[in-house]
């Protein structure tokens, strides 16, 4: 009887999970072995043809490289910044709530709104960045129109958007640390940096792991800004994997190839998650 209750309680969540997560994932995998069908030429089994096309697609390799640099550019910096901000607003300072709020504001804004704001920061000549640089006599720079700078611009904006969100987690973790530890360390005469590196930072490890997983996933799933800022251009210089999937699916209407790319994305994310949990869990102290 207990089993029946248990299953009954699980059913609603299980149905939702299967219908909207597991079934689509399996269907995507199946679709990647078929060609995209039209009314004239129905879909047929093509085996690994879609994967061969993927291996030969230079844009796929470029978006993968771009995604790597995007992840490397955003994750460590936004985590470090989040920790720094959390330490700062955790201390006693005047108008603490206001400072916390202002750090958190970028998180509350929708990504599309943020991208529209930053579009006007980066615009040559009339943009904020160029106007400030102009005060010091620097020449106007075409930030988003240059393949060398466009990725840096997208990364900077993403860090600005994300750091405040991660700060909240660090702040919560910092406030749950027992104050006795700091008192004890002070009595023992430990310096502040020694205390941070030997006590605070290790105790924050679970939070760091959580934030790291989230930041990694975000670096693959956050592409809203590309619709506004660059549309992946110039010449794919700022194109990311998920945005490319969108282009393939809804602009090229090649659902089969989009499914193939999605399988790669899922595999990548799954691999990251396993790697992170396995490697870092050894160094994480859960209490």
């Amino acid at each position: 009887m207990r089993h029946v209750y248990g299953w009954l309680l699980l059913t609603p969540a299980a149905i939702l999970l299967v219908a909207f997560t597991h079934y689509p994932a399996v269907a995507t995998l199946a679709d990647s072995f078929f060609s995209a069908g039209t009314a004239v030429r129905p879909s047929r089994f093509v085996g690994l043809d879609n994967y061969a096309a993927l291996a030969a697609d230079p844009v796929f390799w470029q978006v993968l490289r771009n995604n790597f640099w995007f992840a490397l550019g955003t994750i460590p910096t936004s985590i470090a910044l989040a920790l720094l901000m959390a330490l700062w607003v955790n201390a006693r300072l005047p108008a603490r709530a206001l400072v916390r709020l202002s750090y958190f504001t970028p998180t509350v804004l929708p990504m599309i709104a943020v991208a529209n704001l930053w579009l006007y920061f980066y615009t040559p000549q009339i943009g904020l960045l160029d106007k400030v640089a102009g005060l010091f006599g620097a020449p106007s720079h075409n930030w988003l129109g240059n393949p060398d700078t466009v990725m840096g611009c997208v990364i900077a904006m993403t860090i600005w958007k994300e750091a405040g969100f991660f700060m909240i987690f660090y702040l919560a973790a910092l406030q749950s640390l027992p104050p006795e530890l700091e008192e004890a360390a002070r009595i023992e005469g430990a310096s502040r940096s020694y205390f941070f590196w030997r006590v605070t930072f290790p105790l924050l490890m679970p939070t760091t792991l959580f934030v790291l997983v989230n930041a990694t996933i975000n670096s693959f799933k956050l592409v809203d800004h590309l619709f506004i800022l660059t549309k992946g251009g110039p010449d794919n210089a700022s194109n990311l994997l998920l945005y490319y999937i969108y282009q393939v699916a809804f602009s090229f209407f090649d659902t089969a190839y989009a499914a193939t790319l999605t399988v790669i994305l899922l595999a990548l994310l799954a691999a990251f998650a396993v790697l992170q949990f396995q490697l870092i869990e050894r160094r994480v102290h859960y209490r």
Binding site: T38, A39, V40, V59, L119, Y120, T123, P124, Q125, I126, G127, G134, G137, A138, P139, S140, N142, L144, G145, N146, P147, I228, T230, K231, G233, P234, D235, N236, A237, Q247, F250, S251, F252, F253, D254
Partner: protein, 423 residues
């Protein structure tokens, strides 16, 4: 689930029949949104008043991409939609999915046949396939040159005379470039946007240099033709060699702001921006046709009416009637004034309403006059991929990572590969 939805809609359709009313649904995209949806609702109300037997549901569906996705999904799910306004260049995709029917099958009477011929030929190019008409022009635009008359005066140029050809545009732009004491550019000569729709701007250059980029059957392109390469070279040189335009890409979305703030003396942009520039520019400006190399030229752009295959004869007849009504000269004139889109037929420019408007604001007629030189917007089978290959080639050339010749050759090779099954 699908069967359930089907039943539900069958039930809905049943009640509609019980009232002996034909119910129509259409999707429409409006790039600018907002007040224009009210204009459409007004038309629908007007039509229903004149045709009490027909009920029309207008569904606003976001931008062109969203509208296409929604319309296709609705068709697949069996939801009723008898017609839609969709991107004019979606025709091959819709044909390939076997979703649309030609208007010729409906136009039996002489009056209907005359109506089919009443539009500007340039606007029909994107709507015809193998001699049949699948798209009726509705919200259509073209590219024009905007120039800042104050900047022209300041540079010692005749403020009433815009460049007529490529050489003039380059030399005038060179005079219009303004630099501050430390040599930084404070005003560019000319800007042509190269994000969002680079292929569209490029079609103007190549048309002016005597080449159309694709065949009428939509199954071949000629990106690597020497004259096409030369036209891309001209565009690239404006920025990289002559420095009258910023090098790299120019953002579509912020260009209008650049122009109204006087940061560029000339810009190429869609006629769809006319009303907005008129409202925000604090200096006198002119609008004219794009300059020529071998000839004038610009592609058309925008949305067409399509008739969907899945409908009853009565519904299709009613949809046909609605499209005829909403594209009639008086409505086309009204729509053009409200939006800045071009009026689609010569007859609409003869209506008193539009005549008065054009005499007070001559810029509104420039697009019409340019139709003589206009060509279809780039549209082929596999159109999304072919377009992206060209977009990437253009941006690679403008940012200097490839030469125009090698970039266009690669784009052509990609297009050949994609279009091979359609030859």
């Amino acid at each position: 689930m699908r069967a359930l939805i089907g039943l539900l809609f069958a039930a809905l359709a049943g009640t509609a029949h019980a009232q002996a009313k034909t119910e129509l649904t259409f999707y429409y995209p409006i790039a600018v949104g907002g007040p224009l949806t009210r204009v459409i609702d007004g038309y629908v109300a007007g039509f229903e008043k004149e045709n009490p037997g027909i009920k029309v549901n207008a569904v606003y569906a976001g931008n062109y991409d969203d509208a296409r996705i929604k319309a296709l999904a609705a068709q697949k799910a069996g939801q009723p939609a008898q017609m839609s306004v969709l991107f004019s260049i979606d025709i091959y995709e819709l044909l390939e999915q076997d979703l649309i029917v030609p208007f010729d099958d409906m136009a039996k009477s002489d009056a209907d046949k005359a109506w089919l011929k009443s539009f500007y030929p340039a606007l029909m190019m994107n709507g015809t396939y193998k001699g049949k008409t699948y798209g009726i022009p509705f919200q259509r635009s073209t590219i024009v040159l905007y120039w800042n008359k104050d900047a022209f005066k300041e540079a010692g140029l005749d403020p009433e005379k815009a460049p007529a050809n490529w050489d003039e545009m380059r030399s005038m732009a060179a005079k219009l470039v303004k630099k501050d004491g430390s040599g930084n550019v404070t005003r560019w000569g000319v800007m042509v946007p190269s994000t969002g729709y680079p292929y569209w701007m490029f079609q103007a250059f190549s048309r002016q240099n005597g080449q159309d980029l694709m065949s009428r059957e939509g199954n071949s392109t000629n990106f690597a033709h020497p004259d096409v390469v030369a036209s891309l070279q001209y565009w690239v040189d404006l920025g990289r060699k002559h420095a009258v335009m910023p090098s790299g890409t120019v953002e579509w979305g912020t260009l209008r702001q650049n122009f109204v703030e006087g940061k560029t003396a000339m810009m190429w942009h869609t006629t769809g921006n006319l009303t907005a520039v008129k409202d925000s520019a604090k200096f006198p400006f002119g609008v004219t046709m794009l300059p020529s190399s071998k000839q004038r030229g610009s592609p058309t752009g925008g949305g067409n009416w399509y008739l969907f295959k899945k409908s009853t004869p009565a519904e299709r007849q009613a949809a046909f009637q609605f499209i005829k009504w909403i594209t009639a000269p008086e409505r086309a004139a009204d729509w053009s004034i409200a939006t800045g889109y071009v009026a689609v037929s010569p007859a609409s420019y003869d209506t008193p309403k539009l005549k008065t408007y054009v005499s007070g604001f001559p810029a509104a007629a420039v697009a019409r006059d340019q139709f003589r030189f206009a060509t279809a917007e780039l549209s082929t089978f596999q159109t999304g991929r072919v377009r992206k290959a060209l977009d990437d080639a253009i941006q690679a050339s403008l940012t200097g990572s490839k030469t125009p010749a090698e970039a266009l050759k690669a784009a052509q090779a990609e297009s050949d590969r994609l279009l091979k099954p359609y030859k």
